[in-house]
């Protein structure tokens, strides 16, 4: 059990850097239990921001606030502000369907639908009204190429998504999210169910996605955060963000003693 008495950490971005998410004083509750405490940070556009911390620190919850997916959990409640392209997404008036179209998500375990490879990728465009076959074909191919899966599946688009390997399924889920042309990709421990080879491929892919997308990745794997991210936010038990900085600085010279202990593996 680690108790955290750190002062509140804030990092506002350097002038000229675009902000994708401006999180202000975010607190979060499941019923009476508080899982995030007064989190404030700016997440830059077209960068990879890692959210790291021990299990139960609220990092997955944090991710689910960014696309309001937390609403599916009964009794969940968020407080504070999360600014995304000029709107506070915690505002009840925000159109979540439109919000989630712009913010894609990839989950911990690959969760393709029990449909064909093609239908998985075409799912998003279809429910948002794309009907034309030629257009769907084009969207599916582009998304699969971006997810570095096209060459492996182009001959078997009609096969069940469950015929793919775990790593391929996860890249399919990334393609499914990319098919919506989102601005942001949220990834909740996307490699925790995969073997090292599949993990390496996904990490390569994430690095490439940075050019076009804002990526927020939650991970409990410190090495992964060090390898892929530009910035890292460290959450500790109790849902407090104790440090947020350029990844290199966090790993080489953290300000907070607890963060140093955590990143060097003294607890976790």
């Amino acid at each position: 059990m680690v108790t955290v008495n750190a002062a509140r950490v804030e990092r506002t971005l350097a002038q000229g850097e675009d902000v994708a998410f401006g999180v202000r004083n975010l607190s979060f509750y499941y019923g009476r239990e508080q899982v995030l405490r007064d989190v404030t940070l700016d997440i830059p556009r077209r960068r990879i921001t890692a959210v790291v911390g021990p299990s139960g620190c609220g990092k997955s919850t944090f991710l689910r606030v960014l696309n309001r997916l937390y609403e599916l959990t009964p009794g969940a409640r968020a407080q504070g502000e999360v600014w995304f392209s000029g709107m506070n997404i915690l505002d009840r008036k925000v159109d979540v369907v439109e919000l989630r179209r712009r913010i894609g998500m990839v989950f911990q375990k690959p969760n393709p639908f029990p449909k064909s490879v093609y239908e998985n990728v075409a799912y998003g465009p279809r429910i948002h009204g794309v009907r034309r076959r030629a257009q769907l074909d084009e969207i599916v191919e582009r998304a699969l190429r971006r997810a570095a899966l096209w060459d492996e599946v182009k001959g078997k688009l009609r096969r069940s998504a469950f015929d793919l390997s775990g790593g391929q399924q996860q890249r399919l889920c990334i393609a499914r999210a990319l098919a919506m042309e989102p601005e942001v990709l949220l990834m909740d421990e996307p490699t925790s169910a995969l073997d090292p080879t599949a993990t390496a491929r996904i990490e390569d892919l994430i690095a490439k996605l940075k050019a076009d997308y804002t990526v927020v990745i939650v991970t409990h794997n410190m090495q992964q955060a060090a390898r892929v991210s530009d910035l890292a936010a460290v959450f500790l038990t109790g849902g407090v963000m104790v440090e947020y900085d350029v990844t290199k600085k966090i790993f080489e010279n953290p300000t907070n003693k607890l963060v140093e202990d955590y990143v060097t593996g003294k607890f976790g």
Partner: protein
């Protein structure tokens, strides 16, 4: 006393072990026995049905029996064609399903996907209670309420029609359809719902494009078992369908089903007559049909965890 000190527990534990082992055997024997009795009962009923049913084919050949348009079992010689009743049962069952399936599936989706968790169990219990109402009560309700109501509404000479029976059977089959569909819906992994929501799907789109397709084998099982319930139901149909065996039944006239035929005529039939055997053959037809429905329903139901 002192010498026996070490021995008494040893004896006790020997007896205990012996008793433990005996209990094991008794338990095994009793469960085996009970299982065998139910299997034996099923076997004997099947054999008896066939033995009493097959002799009808000394009077009429199987094709004329199943495809015959006239049922005059007491004329001389008797006409023993059960096609009117097969069509009657078929019509009533199909219309009952047309009621039970949409309402049952909607009920299941409402309970499983829409209603807050607190109300989920009370609602499930309520639906199951619907299945617990005795069929004679449905029949009575039908006779007193639905029959006069349909008579007035459609301006019919009698409200005792195929439609009346079908409506009541629909309500009776609804819990079967609803509870099997609900189980299948509950077995759909949450990860798929989350994936759909995260792609910007609405609640309705998620149900229609992810939950229902993933639950379809359970849904199909529910439909088949609901069908079995509707085909086999006797008392309600007997009370409200008017029971006149006419070839080519219509929804708005009295209709006779296979089950009602057996129930109506069995008491007045001389044992061993062609009529008697014909009624057993009708029972055999029903038995084979519902058995098939149950087996197929069970098979698709067990594919539930798989996908395809």
């Amino acid at each position: 006393m002192t010498e026996n000190h070490g021995r008494a527990p040893a004896v006790a534990s020997w007896v205990g072990r012996r008793w433990g082992r005996a209990r094991e055997w008794i338990a095994r024997g009793v469960t085996w026995g009970c299982a065998s009795v139910s299997l034996l009962a099923l076997g004997l009923i099947t054999v008896y049905l066939f033995c009493e049913g097959v002799p009808v084919f000394r009077t009429v050949d199987p094709l004329a029996f199943l495809g015959g348009k006239a049922w005059f079992p007491t004329s001389e010689p008797p006409s023993l064609g059960i096609l009117p009743m097969i069509l009657g049962s078929g019509l009533v069952t199909m219309v009952a399903l047309a009621v039970a399936v949409p309402f049952g599936v909607a009920t299941a989706l409402f309970i499983g996907e829409v209603v807050p968790t607190v109300f989920r169990n009370p609602l499930k219990v309520a639906v199951e209670l619907l299945a617990g109402i005795p069929s004679v009560v449905y029949g009575f309700f039908g006779l007193v309420i639905v029959v006069p109501w349909l008579e007035a509404l459609l301006g019919l000479p009698t409200g005792q029609t195929a439609l009346t029976a079908a409506l009541l059977l629909g309500v009776m089959a609804l819990p079967t359809v609803a509870s099997l569909t609900e189980d299948a819906v509950a077995a759909v992994p949450n990860a798929w719902r989350e994936a759909a929501f995260a792609l910007g799907a609405t609640h309705w789109q998620t149900m229609r494009t992810v939950v229902v397709p993933a639950a379809r084998s359970g849904l199909l099982a529910g439909v088949l078992l609901g069908m079995g319930r509707a085909v086999g139901e006797t008392m309600t149909v007997l009370m409200v369908s008017g029971n006149s065996p006419r070839f080519l039944p219509s929804l708005t006239s009295p209709t006779r089903t296979l089950t009602a035929t057996i129930a109506l005529e069995m008491a007045e039939t001389p044992v061993g007559s062609p009529h008697y055997h014909a009624l057993f053959a009708v029972g055999t037809v029903l038995f084979v049909f519902t058995l098939l429905l149950n087996v197929v329903g069970d098979m698709v139901g067990h594919r539930l965890g798989r996908h395809g």
